[in-house]
């Protein structure tokens, strides 16, 4: 049986362990604060709701409201991108780069002036369509930037805010692949 250490001998070791715990507590608190502070006004107030990565979150699936007379088209999947005028150009450039989303009808819903050549563009200045699709209000409270994916039965299966959606078309393709 080993000899017990005296209180004088254990005190420095205990202080070292306490220092490890305090360093972790302060370090991770600082990292969390920095991450929270770096969120933009376009982000979801609840980060868990942004880009969850799986279908049928929350109240979904839900019937998809009409974007135009022809969209969503029965039997075809559809993606509705909701963007602001200042981000239309980036999204359209990404969409035209390599046609990453073949197999789905695409509509770009703009909360102001803007046109996306070769893609159905819908003006939604009052963000009425965005609300109808259940997109959450971003932290700024303005029109949301994000997208919704509709399955071949006309049901919304995925929706999220995504301020950088033009850079995340690979992610959109992953969600589309999972959508029947």
């Amino acid at each position: 049986m080993g000899a017990s250490l005296t209180p004088e001998a254990t005190a420095p070791a205990r202080r070292r362990l306490l220092a490890v715990w305090l360093a972790a507590a302060v370090g991770f608190a600082a990292l969390l604060a920095v991450a929270r502070a770096s969120e933009s006004g376009l982000d979801d107030p609840d980060p868990a709701q942004q880009r969850p990565g799986f279908l049928d979150a929350g109240a979904l699936p839900q019937p998809a409201p009409g974007l135009t007379d022809a969209l969503p088209w029965s039997g075809r999947r559809a993606i509705a991108f909701f963007v602001r005028p200042d981000s239309v150009e980036d999204l359209c450039r990404s969409l035209s780069d390599d046609r990453p989303l073949e197999g789905a009808d695409i509509a770009v819903v703009v909360s102001g002036p803007g046109e996306c050549e070769g893609v159905t563009t819908v003006a939604d200045p009052a963000a009425r369509l965005a609300r109808a699709y259940g997109l959450r209000r971003p932290r700024s409270g303005d029109a949301p930037v994000g997208y919704a994916v509709v399955d071949g039965h006309g049901q919304i299966r995925y929706r999220t805010l995504d301020p950088s959606v033009a850079d995340h078309l690979g992610e959109v393709r992953t969600i589309l692949r999972a959508t029947p």
């Binding site: 080993g2 017990s4 250490l5 254990t10 070791a13 205990r14 362990l17 306490l18 490890v20 715990w21 972790a24 507590a25 991770f28 608190a29 990292l31 969390l32 991450a35 770096s38 969120e39 933009s40 982000d43 979801d44 609840d46 980060p47 868990a48 942004q50 880009r51 969850p52 990565g53 799986f54 279908l55 995504d162 301020p163 950088s164 850079d167 995340h168 690979g170 992610e171 393709r173 992953t174 969600i175 692949r177 999972a178």
Partner: protein, 139 residues
């Protein structure tokens, strides 16, 4: 001054090397979550994975009455296990509910309090493990 003996680096230096290795892995994982809004996911899976590892480490430490070697490796492994579905997502596989087998990968994001809750769980798990180490040192 730290002096390495003939058998290799001294314990403090070895500990520091493992600190650096674990830190480098975590930094790489952090950077792999491209986009600022994905950091939220990194924190969740880090806290959940590390907390699970720390609870296991506590049990092993109490049983063997010795601290585990390379204590930073286990939390990193826990994190990697918890984030496995995110690696699959990068490969084009969307998340599904069954992926909760990876330490609640899907549902862990939705606990009340979100990452602050997991931060508290992590600190409690760490305290538990350090208390076990302290206890083992007194024997």
């Amino acid at each position: 001054m730290i002096v390495a003996d003939q058998a290799g680096p001294s314990p403090p230096l070895r500990l520091c090397l493992w600190c650096l290795a674990a830190g480098a892995v975590e930094l790489a994982l952090y950077l792999s979550y491209r986009g600022h809004d994905a950091r939220f996911h990194w924190f969740t899976h880090l806290f959940v994975g590390a907390s699970t590892a720390l609870v296991v480490m506590t049990a092993v430490t109490l049983r063997t009455r010795r601290p585990l070697p390379y204590p930073l490796v286990w939390p990193v492994l826990g994190h990697l296990f918890a984030m496995t579905p995110d690696l699959a997502f990068s490969g084009g596989v969307a998340h599904q509910r069954w992926m909760d087998v990876f330490l609640g990968h899907v549902s862990s994001h939705f606990v009340p309090g979100r990452n602050v809750t997991w931060y508290a769980v992590f600190l409690a798990s760490l305290a538990l493990y350090l208390a076990a180490v302290d206890r083992s040192g007194q024997r």
